[in-house]
Amino acid sequence: MAELFALFVGAALVNNFVLVQFLGLCPYVGTSKRLETAIPMSLATAFVMLLATVLTHILYTLVLIPLDLEYLRIIAFIFAIAAVVQMTELYVRQISPVLHQLLGIYLPLITSNCAILGLVLTVADLSLPQAMVYAVGGAFGFGLVLVVFASLRERLQSAAVPAAFRGAPVALLCAGFMALAFAGFLGMA
């Protein structure tokens, strides 16, 4: 239990996908302008992360390892992630057209979110429960960072920022400071 908790904290904070491993920076910058897009995006990413982890884990242990084809895992995992995103989109459209409309283009773009590929490659050698805990932790870390950054950027809109720094530059500076802050977790695990 303690080990799983350490795994969760490690995935969420110590090895945070965005601010420590620098994965998934595209949605981090792209969907963080407003909180209204950041929250659905982190939820959708979390959903895909968990499903993709389970699917790739099954694929890896039942197909690739018995056939001695571990070196195919990158291409096979990309395959699996694309399929999971497709299924998620079909499912979301069926159960909640409003949510589907809200997520719009971000949902299919999760396919190319490298945080997800990074996650499934990281957890491929763990056991399935460990992998799932790691996925939940990683998704939590991604969502936390995205929501915090979106809130910061909303505040920045009304802040007295020098003209040359307005917009993207100050946002990137903030992202850098956040990454510095997260570097403080490095000693924890």
């Binding site: 197909v63 690739l64 084809l69 195919l72 096979a76 395959f79 399929a83 497709q86 299924m87 057209p97």
Partner: protein, 169 residues
Amino acid sequence: MFEEVVLVSLTMAGIGITLSGGIAALAKWTESRQPIDSLVERVNGLLPQIQCAKCGFPGCRPYAEAVIAGERIDLCPPGGSDTVQALGHLLNRPVDVPAETMDSDQVAFIDENTCVGCARCIPACPVDAIVGAERYTHTILQEHCTGCELCIPVCPVDCIDLHKRAVHA
């Protein structure tokens, strides 16, 4: 070497076929549940999409769902009689309302003596019927206004009222 190539190709083909089979099955399942939804889509497409909630539902899509479930089709004032006719035609329901009572006979009107020119009502208008700019008095183009009342709550000085639509000659 050759066997390795065959193994890799077969494995990737197998993975691909399995995954696309999964997607196809899911797509088929959603398709089988689709008919009711596609009717919602079509009803939704006939509504004006200005989300004014005058029908008593939170927006156009919830109203479309309610219409499918049996709600009256003449609850949309901005859509006017055209919408009722189109809905009745699509759903094979009698258009029993006299067309003229349905036509949105109310339009918003800005009291230009009170208006402070804050321009807050302009983005609120779903049909772009309000003209004006910041610090200038606004006015509403009567022929475009649908009487949806969305501009009324955003006005800080309460200078917008509903008036009876003037009859055009």
